[in-house]
């Protein structure tokens, strides 16, 4: 029983990180139709910037608050000067461009911060562990598990109740409609891309105390977030939440029960879901 709960918590905390990253990915895809390969690199930048702020100020919170806006600012430039010329052209060009961006950023951080592995400590309040089911469980992980739904609810409220949120949602479901009702699409696109980047960077900053910070940490997570987005349904927010949870739990329980298959499990899940529900769990069927 305690093993079950431990696995549950393990899966949930990993799922929550995945959720944050996939949220940005799915928003950007849903609204802009851009599949951003460099999304993982923005996640990585969030982690590195957090590391840098921790070095300067010693405070994780400052890194968490100040790092992501910087990444968002960078992505405004990326959207404005690199992506924008490609709108309306073949989607493959965006794919290639963001792929080039990924190479650039992944190796670029190595030039700035070096190739060594870096470690960011969790903030004082969240370090250590608590007793749970006759086991000790890291406080930081519990923080992630709780933070996930809070962020999820926050985003949900944002998308449901605020004007910007409604606009985003409208644009995600029907871009032309948004244009007709007078949304300034270029501004919206920039904002959406920056918002996605901000979410990715928040994820990166939150991941920093949890895993070592190194180049290409984004490359590892990008495929898993792709899978989350696709099984959840492209552009679907609840889909990203459920997809991330499913993948997180599959990871933790799969390790215990299907160790030989664990590498293939996400892909098997992906194939099965896409064959049964072609547009993902929460995707609108065409």
């Amino acid at each position: 029983m305690e093993a079950f709960f431990a696995n549950l918590l393990n899966g949930l905390s990993w799922g929550m990180l995945l959720f944050l990253i996939s949220m940005g990915l799915t928003t950007v895809f849903g609204v802009m139709g851009v599949l951003n390969f460099a999304h993982g690199s923005l996640f990585m930048l969030g982690a590195y910037l957090c590391l840098q702020f921790v070095r300067w100020t010693g405070s994780f919170w400052i890194g968490l608050i100040l790092g992501p806006p910087l990444v968002a600012a960078l992505s405004v430039l990326i959207e404005r000067f690199l992506l924008r010329p490609l709108y309306g052209r073949d989607v493959s060009l965006q794919l290639l461009l963001t792929f080039g961006l990924m190479l650039f950023l992944d190796d670029g951080v190595r030039l700035i911060w070096g190739a060594a592995y870096h470690v960011v400590n969790p903030p004082e309040v969240l370090s250590g562990s608590v007793a749970l089911f006759s086991r000790s469980y890291p406080l930081y992980r519990l923080f992630l598990v709780i933070l996930g739904p809070i962020v999820g609810i926050g985003l949900w409220a944002f998308f449901t109740y605020t004007l910007w949120g409604k606009l985003l949602r409208a644009a995600a479901t029907d871009r032309q409609m948004a244009e007709i009702v007078g949304v300034r699409v270029p501004v919206l696109f920039t904002a959406v891309f920056a918002f996605g980047a901000w979410l990715a960077a928040v994820g990166g900053a939150l991941a920093a105390p949890h895993q070592s910070v190194g180049p290409a940490m984004g490359e590892r997570i990008i495929i898993e977030s792709f899978i989350v987005v696709v099984i959840g349904g492209m552009g679907s927010f609840p889909g990203a939440f459920v997809g991330a949870l499913v993948l997180g739990l599959l990871h933790s329980f799969g390790t215990t029960f299907f160790p030989q298959l664990q590498m293939a499990l996400p892909y098997i899940l992906l194939a099965v879901i896409l064959l049964i529900r072609p547009r993902g769990l929460f995707g609108a069927e065409s």
Partner: protein
Amino acid sequence: MKNKSLTPVLVLLVMVFSAGIGLAADKPVKIGFAYIMSGPFATYGQFAKQGAELAIDELNAKGGILGRKVESFFEDTAGKPDVGIRVIRKHVFENGADVVMGLDSSGVAAAVAPVMMELKTPLLVTHAATPDVTGSKCNRYTFRVSLNINQNIAMASAIAADMKSKIWTTAGPDYSFGHQSWEYFQQYLARKKPDAVFLPQAEVAFSPAATTDFSSYITKIMNSKAEGVLISLWGGNLIDFVRQAADMGFFDGKRDILMTLGAATEVLYALKDKMPTGIWVGTRYWFLANDTPVNQAFVEAFSKRYNVYPSYNAHGAYAAVKAYAAAAEKVKSVEKEKIVEGLRGLSLELPVGKITIRPEDHQAITDGAWGVTAADPNYPIRILKPIRKFSGAEITPPVAETGCKMN
């Protein structure tokens, strides 16, 4: 590209003439290095480069090899077999390397080693630990100056034999390195301790290389009935594992733990005081393991130049350059076939201790050291105290066991 056609002819002419007239001293000795210089494991390439450059500068300061200057070329294998083969071919055909050294990933080493038979150029493996390179895939041109899996695991099993744990499990990377480490551990420990029990394959914890969240593997081990754990994770994986395991109460003293590469300095530098104390850890070279003048000079020169203590990969590259120089001096030539003869059976004093390259399989018989992690105010990182040293002879499996058939 156009005048490439003339290059071989010219080179040949130059060689013939220079051999005849004795102008060989003018031509530098070229060493081609192939390491991971990009991506998540780039730190290994960087360390190796530091070690190699230190060794080359030392040699050149003393007039080079046989009076010839030593030149180096570095190429990035990216940790991929096809790229590894391409850059080794580039070294041989394009850079005109007299010898090639390096290789971090076992997969790359396993792919490159057989190709050396066609390239007819000596290869000194300095990091990759797969037994095959000096085992089933051994060949005339492939050598290894660093510790391999078998040697390291022999030490691990010797230490494990003295522990009270009977039931063992493993946490390792889910590729050949992790699986082989576990298989040799079972084989060696069963010899020393026949009543040892090993958990079946489905109950041990092998994690894919891309894993960053180890919690489920840690949970799996903690829930098993194992008393002892062999951890063959390394690099970033090990750092993540140790941090997450510490938070989950894994190091509560209830189980015996062996980390085969826990004493790697890149790991210790990253973890600093997050590395628990009192854990048995191994490495391929520990900078405090012996106090010979050679080692002291190396550690001093290295830390002065780069501001960090030398990692095992830095030592590997350093050792390879020094071994090559020694072989060249021994046979008074850098001609490839002669170097092969020179390396066979070569003995020399290195920072790690005295090594001998076994002529039968080209594996270096090298001393090793494990130790228990401890805090020391004089060092920014955890150090090993006490240290248990092993002689090369006792940890190197006999040639018959390696599966090597030298041709």
